[in-house]
């Protein structure tokens, strides 16, 4: 008896939806086993990481605030991935977006209000788009692989951040700690529910997936992205421009990451220190895949990943496992989701003796 993989004519819709869910469940199971083997209460750890954030009402705001940047960045990444353009450098675009927004805020001193905040966000979008445009330019003109260039530009962005907050942008009242001054109160995003940390950026993150959904499903550009990604030759015959697709997807995903950076600065963190790049840009890659590159999928997956972040912090206080454990869970999810892709495009069957297999096939 052996296992045989047969290519499906069409990707299985059932598998498309079922595998992400299975990936999450499998992650919990493996986590439970591994923690128990390590002598840590596995059930408690998995419960705290995956369920406490959903069950404890006071944790919802943390989940929402964490999910916002993940969802926004993932929307951009999935757009590119559909066209087989791989932006691995969203983290860098996120950083540059936040820095651009901080620069605008600083230029206005303590003046704030609608106009300044709008300008900050616009600067964030443009900053991220610019950082995303560099790998696009390199790819289109010099055939530089965007996976490498976008990733490497992340480290450049981190250096830019370090230089600015340790030098010209250092908080004059910060006693030399490398960080920017906190934003003026009028330069921060409005809080939607008084007494919580849920800022306007969260609402934007919950609306954007629907905007993306409509745009990618209904526009020619959305169709172009899908065609360029799935059948480049057909796209060329159809008159779709591959170069333009590369430009558009990288600039848009850069803009999204930059938007997330600006919102995170003005809504949640309020200043930039060396801990500002906390890996949202990389985690969003997991969100995009777990969400099956679909805008609404990204929204759901963003919430799932945010839950693991927040749950990681809960487990930190309850079972004393390091915060970074959440990262291991997130990586496991990505691993399972990528591995399970095979079930979407292939049918797995057990094949016995030739005669019997033929009979089974005939009977189908």
């Amino acid at each position: 008896m052996r296992i045989k993989l047969e290519k499906r004519l069409n990707p299985s819709v059932f598998m498309l939806v079922a595998t992400p869910i299975a990936s999450v469940l499998l992650t919990m199971l493996i986590g439970l086993i591994v923690f128990d083997a390590l002598g840590i209460d596995g059930i408690r750890a998995v419960t705290d990481i995956f369920f406490t954030p959903l069950l404890a009402a006071y944790k919802w705001q943390d989940v929402a605030v964490k999910a916002a940047p993940l969802v926004i960045i993932a929307l951009g990444i999935s757009l590119g991935n559909r066209a087989q353009v791989w932006n691995i450098g969203a983290e860098g675009q996120y950083i540059i977006g936040a820095l651009a927004a901080a620069g605008v805020a600083m230029a206005f001193g303590t003046t704030g209000g609608f106009f300044v905040i709008t300008l900050m966000i616009a600067a964030g979008v443009l900053g991220g788009a610019f950082w995303g445009a560099i790998p696009a330019w390199l790819r289109v003109n010099y055939r530089v692989n965007e996976i490498l260039s976008s990733l490497m530009l992340t480290y450049v962005a981190i250096q830019v951040l370090g230089y600015l907050i340790g030098g010209p942008w250092k908080d004059p009242n910060g006693r030399n700690f490398p960080q920017t001054a906190p934003l003026a109160p009028d330069q921060t995003l409005p809080i939607l529910f008084p007494g919580t940390t849920i800022h306007l950026g969260v609402a934007i993150a919950f609306v954007l997936p629907f905007v993306f959904w409509v745009l990618t499903a209904r526009s020619v550009f959305g169709f172009q992205i899908r065609v360029v990604g799935s059948a480049p030759d057909a796209a060329r015959h159809g008159g779709f421009n591959t170069r333009q697709t590369i430009w558009m997807t990288l600039v848009i995903s850069g803009a999204m990451a930059g938007l997330a950076g600006a919102l995170e600065l003005s809504g949640a963190l309020r200043n930039i220190n060396l801990g500002f790049p906390s890996g949202y840009g990389f985690t969003a890659i997991i969100v995009a895949f777990l969400g099956r590159l679909h805008p609404i999928g990204c929204l759901i997956a963003g919430i799932v990943l945010a839950v693991t972040y927040v749950g990681g912090q809960v487990a930190q206080t309850s079972v004393h496992i390091p915060n970074s454990t959440a990262g291991i869970f997130q990586a496991m999810m990505l691993f399972f989701i990528l591995a399970s892709d095979i079930f979407v495009r292939y049918r797995v069957r057990l094949v016995g003796r030739p005669g019997k297999a033929a009979a089974v096939e005939a009977g189908e």
Binding site: L55, R175, N273, L274, G275, T317
Partner: protein, 360 residues
């Protein structure tokens, strides 16, 4: 049968969670909870290890009245905020946040919970329910500088720093000034690694300092990593925050030990008594917050005598390394002969003394 809605599910879960508590002594007074937010792992054998030792002292002295909860590896960014809120939600009435980078987060969370007391270590922002506390580590650095100045053959000393914050600048200056008292030509090569705890980075920076001629290296970062490198190279160094001699039996000349226990016990007691008030505490040798670990046998008797004299001077208030004349890196006279820098000026210092050179 009741409908299982989200609301009554949470209620049921909550009720289930409280059930085990009923099993205990039914009328025992509930213990007050004390929270700790730690920067590194409690096994760093340095900064966090010392704070955890203080926490254990609270448990052992007040264990019948309080219970402590701690969280390790808390990043110095916004993610510290939910950790602090979590501790409040778990019932903590006083929370110690033990690193400089939790300053704004502590102030923010304290604003949300005016009934909970917060104590922030090494910061300078206070509120009605936020006190600050720190240790005069630089007094200990004066002892290390004395030993290093006397024992270094090259006269080139290495200093591994974290950030250019006053606490670190003070340590560097106290070390350099003390070393120059023993060897006027001594220079201090300084590297800042932008982190408090990063063993690989600490080790790499130590290698750099050794390669440019430093034969004694001291650190203001928290891992024993640098000491292990010094041990391999047959050079000398000092422990940070705690006695690290087990990691480098030959290289470890001595260490500055941070003794937080008595302060923690005193402050927790104050909450129990209802006498807690926001304050700024900055103690040193005199109060027992700074202690010098046993000397290595490699430290000769005359050096020990010099080092002991510095300690004794601090204990009886007759010694202060920040006594003029003090010149800055550019050679400008900053403190006139005979003048002593006041604590308030030390707390905001942002310049290095003559003989401190950047090695990065």
């Amino acid at each position: 049968m009741g409908k299982l809605s989200r609301r009554n599910f949470i209620g049921a879960a909550g009720a289930a969670a409280t059930l085990p508590m009923l099993g205990g002594p039914a009328f025992a007074k509930e213990k007050m909870k004390v929270g700790y937010v730690f920067l590194g792992p409690i096994g760093d054998y340095g900064w966090t290890w010392a704070h955890n030792k203080g926490r254990k002292q609270v448990e052992s002295e007040l264990g019948d009245q309080v219970e402590t909860i701690y969280v390790e590896n808390v990043a110095e960014d916004a993610s510290a905020i939910p950790v602090m809120r979590d501790l409040v939600h778990q019932g903590c009435k006083i929370i110690f946040t033990t690193s400089f980078g939790y300053m704004d987060q502590t102030i923010q969370v304290a604003k949300e919970f005016p009934d909970v007391k917060f104590e922030h270590c090494t910061g300078y922002k206070r509120a009605k329910n936020v006190a600050t506390y720190n240790s005069k580590f630089h007094e200990g650095r004066a002892v290390l500088g004395t030993i290093a100045g006397k024992m270094s053959k090259s006269g080139t000393l290495g200093y591994l720093g974290s950030y250019k914050v006053p606490e670190v600048v003070l340590g560097v200056n106290a070390f350099a000034l003390s070393a120059q008292k023993q060897n006027p030509a001594a220079t201090v090569k300084l590297v800042m690694i932008d982190s408090w705890f990063d063993p690989p980075k600490e080790a790499a920076a130590t290698e750099t300092l050794i390669n440019i001629g430093c034969d004694i290296v001291t650190t203001h970062t928290d891992s024993p990593g640098p000491l292990q490198i010094l041990e391999q190279r047959g050079l000398y160094g000092f422990g940070q925050g705690a006695d690290m001699s087990q990691f480098a039996p030959h290289a470890h000349l001595t260490a500055i030990e941070d003794i937080w226990g008595p302060y923690y016990v005193e402050r927790v007691k104050a909450v129990l008594d209802g006498t807690w008030k926001s304050a700024d505490t900055w103690d040193g040798f005199k109060e027992g917050t700074v202690k010098i670990a046993p000397y290595n046998k490699a430290v000769p008797a005359d050096v020990r005598a010099l080092a002991d004299a510095v300690q004794a001077g601090y204990k009886n208030g007759t010694y202060n390394i920040f006594t003029g004349p003090i010149y800055d890196q550019a050679g400008k006279l900053r403190v006139k002969a005979g003048e002593v820098m006041a604590d308030k000026d030390l707390a905001v210092i942002d310049w290095f003394v003559k003989g401190v050179e950047s090695a990065a």
